[in-house]
Amino acid sequence: MKVEAAGFSGPLDLLLSLIERRQIDICEVSIAQIADDYLERVLSLDWLDINEAAEFLVVAASLLYIKVRALLPAAGQQPDEACDDEGEAEGGEDDPAQALVARLIEYRRFRDAARALRPLEAMGLRAYRRLERALPKPGPTFMPPAGLTLQALASAYLQAMSSLPQEFEQAPTDEIPIAQQMVAILSGLARRGKLRLQDLFGTAASRGTVVASLLALLELTRRGRVNAEQPVPFGDIWVRAPESRRWEVGDADVEPEVSTGGN
């Protein structure tokens, strides 16, 4: 089942609905309780799209990380303090609970705004316009736009091209997708036991995701979390979990990196 079919437009939507079902104020939420609810829901969904699953699992990992932090005395910050000094840069930076609550509050504004637009949509859709066919369309006619000069053309081209190299500079600094892909690979293995290398890349949305998947796989291999094998030369490469280890969502290997992705 696709998550949207289950009624959730994303991980924040799911999280928010769990909080609201318990009728608790966002600022008073016990992350520990919500983390369990959330995990239960996420694991009960039947994921078709591995990228989508990864996005939900990233939030799951954040929740678990927050939960673990709250249990450690050294961590200090209580979750309830989140709302009091929310907005102050110093607190929001390093307390993931606070950052998550701030994101939820911001998300909720737009979710509620979207709901408020529904009645308008219902009304707007009841007024029909004429069908398009009526207007006679002139064939291609040369209609030069105002302001089309050689200068404008050259600068538009340069601007278009200027975005390319930067995209490549940015990619390596972004560690979120790698953590995401690690979670995605592990969750795929947890369900299916083994995966073909191609399948890891088959659904990838972009070249960046493919690279992130590959790096994630290498990293997991290095840590001994997965094995990769190629039974036949030039044949399929299979990725599987080592016999001895069963993957658990909140495993400490993945968490710290994931939580930095939350911001």
Binding site: E4, G7, F8, S9, G10, P11, L12, D13, N51, E52, E55, V59, E86, G87, E88, A89, G92, E93, A99, A102, R103, I105, E106, Y107, R108, R109, F110, R111, D112, A113, A114, A116, L117, R118, L120, E121, A122, M123, G124, L125, R126, A127, Y128, R129, R130, L131, E132, A134, L135, Q159, S162, S163, Q166, E167, Q170, A205, N263
Partner: protein
Amino acid sequence: MQMLSPKSAQAAIEAILFAAAFPVHIDDLAYAIEADAESVRRLLREIEDRFSRPESGAMLACVDGCYLLLSRPEYSGFVERLSRRQKPAVLSPASMETLAIIAYRQPVTRGEIEKIRGVNSDSAISTLIERGLVAEAGRRNSIGRPVLYATTPEFLLHLGLRSLDQLPPLPETENEPAANPDAEEPSSAGAETQEPSLPGLG
């Protein structure tokens, strides 16, 4: 074309609005019938009056300075029953959520949308673009020069609004950390000032 009598001018405008399925700007109407915007405005008022009578099944709508004729919503049941017009699809929750973010934060980048939603929004954005509710609106002058998205007049039509000012106000939060639409990083917020996120909205 020769000079039009007032009645013919009115008829010409009605013919254009009848033929065009999209909102037509008042300047385009003026250009088409070779008249000034003021006379067109007067003619539009007369057309509006004519279509406001109880025996009329259509109405004149104004969206963002553009005009079009629509069937009256109270008769939509008959239209769907007989004219084979499909009831237009409502947006999915994900698309509506994305549309709300674009509407209130425009112009906005994909990255900003995804930061708020916490989920990849490619397909929601392409759905909105396909339906003509959202369009590219240049690029932001920042690293990577990301494409900016904004709503279209079609968006107003979809919600039955005359202009963006009529959008319901965005729900407020008690202390609003990221009200600045240009703030790409939530960390750059911290300004406690509650600025309304849309001009003309309070």
